[in-house]
């Protein structure tokens, strides 16, 4: 069982003899290529995989959005059917939130958090891989509904007997990203469980459930990592702000996701087993779904935006040449936003008739949450103030973030007033508001982060002129697309209608919005294409091209698998900046000694266990709709899941010793490329 004693410390793992797990099987430690990517427990590789999948789904969600905008470009358009339109806006929202923004944030968590706190990996490397693959399979289950939809449209399913049972209105989900009951639920007395919608809703339920498991597992892991694996001297108030925002986001996830988990279980019981949680004809209260959904859904908004705020809080000081203005206030504002985020959910439900007292209370709390957000904006402005600003692509996008997010915040505060909200509810004004927050805020922040850290991730510089062009197109296209929607909403154009008649005065601005959407789409595609090109062909750069402030910039680019050759000991906030320009140096401790540093072994088991979710997730919608023998797919899936977890537990954590350059005698962490 002594899994490391027979390994000589070396600097490259492929030179090691094969390692056997406690099961007697050879661990996939010494391989490269596909096996390496499928079995990796390296947080940097997992981060890259998260990022690649997220960018792919951003493009999928973007294509869905462009189809919606094309349909709305002209009045009385018939580019797509009403049914397809419902499916597109449902999947657009779900994809962007759960498969685009959250995994892209997770990509940053994975890549950056261990580097920023001076650790060599996360607390549970194999659990981290499990989160990744569970996300990948959850995303696949959710999108598999499109395959059924296309098969149905092509007529391939017509020859099956169970075809009629399978479809009521849709194959891909069409309930909106919040799947309000009773539309998503059932009607009828005594367990008849007649459903309003087809198998798409079941795909949605199980897909979100699986994605929730992935997010929860990742969040447990990251809280543990941040609290427990900080380098010596890295006190909580010396943590980089991005790491702080990751911590708060993870806490929000573990406390908010159980509400949606239970709501989804209840909805699943309604649909599959004839329970009455949301069935109005049997006494169920559909408004309960709204409560449970938004108790999750509103913290989710902050789950989406806090990582972007953390990213911007790293970029602004770097390119202003100043320390972040009011670090403790920024951190505490983030915590207050997270806390208040649980107390404002009912502002999504002002029109359900909550009564005057709750409405007033939720109005006030919603206004209150604008305060810490405003505090952050002023601190960012204070950071830029008097600084020597360098307008690099990440900085341009960060400045865009402040401006656009502020616009979204202004329209958000308008919604806190219940009477005004009653007028704006379900109109395009709401669409304009949350796209300013989620696109102008979150997407610009994440793009800024991509341009900022790509040189660290791949050791290559993105093409700057294309980056400026893409950023300009995104900001211009975005404002053209969503600015007019404020007007459209106030002029009465409702959400979720697949077309509108001419003569309402909505034609011009809808046309402008569609043009803007295409510019935006082209800009995002250009930006992503630039980044993909950078990863393989970009010009090589030094390990610290921007003059970074935090520990990750002290490492070579790309970062070696062991991260830190010697364990850093920090004495101040912005440790790397202080190390070069201030009085306080980073000390290094040769913690591995002659034996080298301990590295976790790779494993197939997280992938195997996650595969169980793929089978179960695929089988459950089939089972709910009465497809013969579908239950066996579910049982197989659960069996694979349990088997994977069992083998995972008994194979042991493993691990091997790597002799880093420092342990081999060179004094400081090596730099692969000279300045």
């Amino acid at each position: 069982m002594s899994h490391d004693s027979h390994h000589d410390p070396v600097a490259c793992k492929t030179e090691l003899a094969p390692e056997r797990s406690d099961l007697g099987l050879i661990r996939p430690d010494r391989t490269t290529g596909w096996t390496d990517w499928l079995t990796t427990v390296d947080h940097k590789k997992i981060g890259i995989l998260y990022g690649a999948f997220a960018m792919f789904y951003f493009l999928v969600g973007g294509v869905e959005a462009l189809a919606i905008r094309t349909q709305l470009a002209r009045p009385d358009n018939d580019f797509i059917t009403a049914r397809m339109y419902n499916q597109l806006f449902t999947m657009h929202g779900t994809t962007m939130i759960f498969l685009g923004v959250m995994p892209l944030s997770a990509a940053f968590f994975n890549f950056l958090v261990p580097l920023q706190i001076g650790a060599r990996d996360v607390a549970f490397p194999r659990l981290n891989a499990f989160s990744l693959w569970t996300f990948v399979f959850g995303a696949f289950v959710l999108n598999a509904s499109w395959l059924f939809e296309f098969a149905h449209l092509a007529g391939w399913l017509n020859s099956f007997d169970w075809h009629k049972a399978l479809v009521y209105t849709d194959f891909a989900p069409a309930n909106g990203w919040f799947s309000y009951a009773p539309l998503s639920g059932t009607f009828g007395q005594n367990g008849q469980a007649l459903r309003f919608t087809g198998v798409g809703t079941d795909f949605w339920i199980i897909g979100i459930q699986v994605l929730g498991i992935a997010s929860l597992a990742a969040s447990f892991n990251f809280i543990c990592t941040i609290i427990n694996m900080r380098a010596k001297g890295m006190t909580m108030m010396r943590l980089p702000v991005f790491t702080w925002m990751t911590l708060i986001t993870a806490i929000l996830i573990i406390l908010a996701f159980p509400a949606i988990t239970v709501a989804l279980i209840e909805l699943m019981f309604d649909r599959a087993f004839g329970a009455n949680f949301f069935n109005p004809s049997a006494g169920g209260q559909p408004v309960l779904w709204q409560h449970l959904f938004w108790i999750f859904g509103h913290p989710e908004v902050y789950i989406l935006v806090l990582p972007a705020m953390g990213i911007v809080s790293e970029i602004l000081p770097t390119f202003s040449g100043k320390a972040l203005f009011g670090y403790p206030i920024i951190v505490f504002s983030g915590a207050v936003i997270g806390f208040l985020g649980f107390a404002v959910w009912s502002h999504h439900m002002f029109t359900t008739g909550l009564g005057p007292v709750p409405t007033a209370a939720f109005s006030l709390l919603t206004m209150a949450i604008a305060v810490p957000t405003g505090v952050k904006i002023f601190n960012w402005l204070g950071t830029i103030w008097g600084g020597r600003v360098r307008f690099t692509p990440p900085m341009v996008l960060s400045l865009g973030f402040i401006w656009m997010f502020m616009c979204g915040g202004f329209s958000g505060v308008m919604h806190s007033s219940a009477p005004a909200d009653s007028q704006q509810q379900d109109s395009y004004f709401v669409i304009a508001h949350f796209h300013y927050v989620l696109l102008g805020g979150v997407l610009l922040g994440l793009m800024a982060g991509l341009y900022f850290w790509f040189p660290k991730i791949f050791g290559r510089m993105p093409n700057a002129p294309i980056a400026y062009l893409a950023s300009g197109m995104v900001i211009l296209g975005f404002n053209l697309a969503f600015g007019p929607m404020h007007y459209l909403g106030l002029a009465g154009m409702p959400r979720r209608t697949h077309t509108y008649h001419a003569g309402n005065g909505w034609e011009t601005w809808n046309y402008v919005a569609t043009i803007g959407a295409y510019i935006l789409g082209a800009g995002v595609f250009l930006a992503f294409a630039n980044l993909a090109w950078t990863a393989f062909k970009g010009k090589k750069c030094s390990s610290d091209p921007w003059g970074g402030r935090t520990l990750e910039w002290s490492l070579p680019s790309p970062v070696p698998e062991y991260n830190f050759a010697q364990a850093p000991i920090v004495a101040t906030r912005d440790a790397y900046f202080e190390d070069r320009h201030g009085g306080k140096r980073i000390a290094y401790e040769n913690d591995g000694g002659e034996a080298g540093v301990h590295m976790p072994s790779q494993s197939w088991m997280p992938l195997v266990a996650s595969t169980g979710f793929l089978f179960a997730g695929f089988g459950m919608p089939m089972m709910a709709m009465g497809v013969p023998h579908a239950g066996w797919i579910v049982i197989t899936g659960l069996g694979v899941l349990i088997l994977g977890i069992w083998l995972w537990a008994v194979e042991g954590p493993g691990g091997y010793m790597l002799k880093t350059p420092a342990a081999a005698g060179s004094p400081a962490p090596a730099e692969t490329v000279a300045h």
Partner: protein, 222 residues
């Protein structure tokens, strides 16, 4: 696990082991999970009478279905299983593997008795006419107590696997004691949740002549 220079043996910033910390985090999350389920039950219980109509069309009341003596017994058994779990953890810390096995077998046995009582209760209630489909009460009752039962079943499975694993000789030392302690945290939590469910779902129905919430109907003959 042997006492090698394992990643999990490395000193942590807080001095708390990773495994223990992550279990506490999971339990925090599980609090919200059960909180949502219990809220659902209480909201509907407040809103609707405790009555439901069975398959023959008779009006029946949940208070008449409950066999409070049986449920009190199974609650007591679950509480005692927590006591045995604490003994098992203590035995592991002292390295007394045989004592650990004895106690953990007791926990498994008591857990199975609890699950058996729940199976009996579900079957009995079902034959009395309360189904997941015929009332909101049935839906919330079965899903809430069933979810708790699933937690107990997962705990029992975990402990059974741990019991057999202990014969391989790999469950020992600091890491072994930690693994048992983490399983113990989970078991105690599931136990505490049951005390809340037992109070909120069963006991309050016995406060006053018509229960804490009342039957919601003007005159009830029990």
């Amino acid at each position: 696990m042997s006492e090698t220079a394992d990643a999990h043996d490395a000193p942590t910033s807080t001095g708390i082991d990773h495994k223990k910390l992550i279990m506490w985090l999971f339990l925090a999350s599980d609090c919200m999970f059960f909180g949502t389920l219990i809220s659902t039950h209480l909201l509907y219980r407040k809103l609707y009478p405790s009555g439901f109509t069975d398959a023959e069309g008779h009006q029946r009341f949940i208070q008449n279905l409950f066999n409070i003596e049986l449920t009190s017994f199974s609650t007591f058994i679950l509480l005692m299983s927590s006591f045995l779990m604490a003994l098992a953890v203590s035995a592991m810390h002292k390295g007394e593997i045989k004592s650990f096995r004895r106690n953990v077998l007791g926990v498994i046995f008591f857990g199975l008795i609890f699950l058996g009582c729940q199976v009996f209760e579900f079957t009995h209630f079902y034959h009395q006419g309360l189904t997941i489909q015929n009332s909101v009460l049935g839906s919330t009752f079965y899903v809430l107590t069933g979810t708790h039962g699933t937690h107990v079943a997962i705990g029992v499975l975990w402990l059974i696997l741990m019991y057999f694993y202990s014969f391989t000789g790999k469950l020992g030392g600091h890491m072994g004691a930690l693994d048992v302690e983490v399983a113990g945290l989970y078991w105690h939590f599931v136990d505490i949740v049951w005390i809340i469910i037992f109070t909120a779902v069963y006991l309050v129905e016995y406060l006053g002549p018509n229960g804490f919430w009342g039957t919601g109907l003007p005159a009830v003959t029990k």
